[in-house]
């Protein structure tokens, strides 16, 4: 297996408004030295709750958010070291699907032009070839050719997400970054889009970097999973290993919290693990393990020293007391 995308110690810092006029600038470390690997032809899911930094990690990995440090190797080439023009050229290999199908399409452009625009910008093929490609893509994602001249507001949420996917595929990318691609859709429509993504991955040999808060969706789509908490990956490994026997207490809590059809009120289920409180503030992260305050297993060591990621079977876990 070869790595398509490999992040090493990727760090993102946001500058906040100063607390006082003469005070030092305050920084928020949204992503703290994150490393992960996405193999060719596979889907890597990044899961976490809001504020975990999962979206920022992905955006920094494809240079839509500026990274403060680290490396992102795409086919062995460090994207963060490329100049703007070289990065622009690289974008044809890396495309993006957004969460909100309503705000991710320019409302003033016809959908055929939206799908065609990446090819225009990258100057791919002749104009006639681009038109043919737009039609082909429409068929591929399950839209009809007679809808080419319409505007985004004339489509339903699911159809808009199909348009978004067609746009992303127009440059024949190798990597598709999917940022919560189904969380704004109705459940019945979610299945349509998830099945479409699964089919496209097989047919076109795509790789996905898939961001989601929904464990069920990630389990369905992804081959590998990285769990994030307060800007760090706490557990990373093959899907089945994580879902069947998570080693990090946070992963365990996340799985216990996700609604499941197996837990019935009639049977008086008791949640195996409950979390209380909220994650700490990313402006002043705790000096030890970020999860320590909410962790049932936390001990003195956890509060003093951040755990280093290490191998636990098939998984890479950042916890002093895994299992």
């Amino acid at each position: 297996m070869t790595a398509l995308l490999r992040a090493e110690d990727l760090t993102v810092r946001f500058r906040l408004a100063k607390q006082s006029l003469f005070g030092p600038p305050v920084h928020l470390e949204a992503v703290r030295a994150v490393s992960f690997t996405l193999e060719k032809g596979r889907a890597l899911g990044i899961v976490g709750e809001s504020g975990s930094g999962k979206t920022t990690t992905a955006m920094a990995a494809i240079r839509l958010t500026e990274a403060a440090g680290g490396k992102v190797l795409f086919e062995g080439e460090d994207l963060l070291a490329l100049d703007d023009e070289a990065m622009r050229a690289r974008r044809r290999d890396i495309q993006l699907i957004f969460q909100d199908p309503y705000s991710s399409l320019n409302p003033r452009a016809r959908v055929a032009d939206i799908v065609r625009e990446p090819m225009d910008l990258m100057e791919i093929g002749t104009p006639a070839e681009r038109d043919a490609r737009v039609r082909e893509l429409f068929g591929l994602v399950g839209l009809r050719a007679d809808q080419l001249g319409l505007f985004p507001h004339q489509f339903s949420g699911g159809q808009r997400q199909r348009i978004s996917i067609a746009r992303a595929l127009s440059t024949n990318p190798k990597l598709l970054v999917c940022d919560e691609p189904v969380s704004a859709l109705d459940v019945a429509i979610q299945a349509q889009i998830l099945n479409l993504l699964a089919r496209l991955k097989e047919e076109l040999g795509l790789s996905y970097l898939f961001i989601s808060h929904d464990l069920g969706v990630v389990r369905h789509v992804c081959d590998d999973v990285a769990v994030m908490y307060l800007g760090k990956i706490v557990e990373h490994g093959p899907r089945d290993a994580i879902f069947d026997a998570p080693q990090h207490p946070y992963s365990q809590a996340l799985l216990a919290a996700a609604p499941s059809l197996k837990r019935r009120k009639s049977e008086g289920y008791v949640r195996p693990m409950k979390l209380s409180g909220d994650p700490p503030s990313p402006i002043r992260p705790p000096k030890g393990c970020a999860f320590a305050d909410r962790c049932p297993k936390a001990q003195e060591l956890c509060r003093d020293m951040p755990p280093e990621p290490h191998e636990e079977g098939a998984l890479r876990v950042a916890c002093h007391f895994p299992g």
């Binding site: 839509l64 705000s103 910008l121």
Partner: protein, 289 residues
């Protein structure tokens, strides 16, 4: 109410136009403005007479002679001829001033809103500087410095009225640049120039169009104000100049001031109606009605 797709290609602009057509006050505005524009463009061909020619006794009241139904001014010049020839320059000053306002305001506002940071800081300080200048006084200084021609007047008005447009544009850009379709454009490798002018600006246009329309009205009033103060272009007849020239005699003769005043009133009123209509048409919340 729910997901619905009607398979009629209707662009947002066409939809706005459909809304606009149903707006009776706005249509009245278009009608009034249309009549005024037609009269100022073609009226002179049907109603011969130079506005500067002394044709009759001074201060002939309206209705006194069949030949000059609206009477004459303090020099004995025909008021109808003045209204017909004076309308063109008045409207032109309004349009040119509004155009200058839009060009400066949109450019600076777009750059400030898109780039943020120090660019925004610098441009906004400049904007504030122009905003706190007493506009009328500043325009008077400009006109006095560079001889009062129609062009300098239009430019002076444009230069003092752009800050509002700049602020509006900046606010729209701040809002729209966070939307995902802008990130989407960056993700497919669009350069900043393209994002500013072909992605964000078209989406920011609706409130700007409304503001431009209203700016025309303000500019016309501004021109009238300058002329009233005696700073108009004395070689070109305009409604403002008519008012300015006759204002000293207003107690003896009301008509040389009132008729151009009414002309300005109706023009600005019509422009405001159109502006409000456009505002409603672009406002998606009202669209569902």
């Amino acid at each position: 109410m729910s997901d619905m797709t009607d398979y009629k290609a209707e662009s947002p602009a066409r939809e706005a136009w459909r809304m606009f057509r149903r707006n009776v006050p706005a249509l009245a505005g278009v009608l009034i403005l249309g009549i005024i524009v037609l009269l100022t463009l073609y009226g002179q061909f049907f109603y011969a007479g130079d506005a500067f020619d002394v044709v009759w006794a001074p201060h002939e009241p309206p209705g006194a002679t069949a030949e000059y139904p609206l009477g004459t001014d303090y020099l004995g010049r025909d008021i109808i001829a003045g209204l017909l020839t004076g309308g063109g320059p008045t409207l032109a000053v309004g349009a040119v001033a509004a155009a200058i306002t839009m060009v400066i305001g949109i450019t600076l506002g777009a750059l400030a809103g898109f780039y943020g940071g120090w660019v925004d800081n610098l441009l906004m300080r400049i904007t504030e500087f122009f905003q706190v200048l007493p506009a009328l006084l500043f325009a008077m200084v400009l006109v006095t410095l560079f001889s009062p021609s129609l062009w300098t007047i239009a430019i002076a008005i444009g230069v003092v009225s752009w800050p509002q447009t700049a602020r509006l544009t900046r606010a729209e850009f701040f809002k729209i640049k966070e939307l995902e379709y802008v990130t989407a454009a960056r993700a497919i490798g669009a350069r900043n120039k393209r994002i500013i002018w072909t992605v964000i600006l078209p989406n920011a246009m609706p409130p700007l169009i409304v503001s431009a329309t209203l700016t025309i009205g303000v500019a016309i009033l501004f021109e009238a104000g300058l002329s009233f103060l005696g700073l108009g272009d004395p070689n070109v007849m305009s409604w403002g100049l008519m008012i300015g020239a006759n204002r000293e005699y207003i107690l003896d003769a009301w008509w040389p001031v009132t008729f151009p005043g009414l002309a300005i009133f109706f023009t600005v009123f019509a422009v405001s109606l159109i502006g409000d209509g456009l505002n409603d048409a672009f406002n998606p919340k009202l669209r569902e009605r």
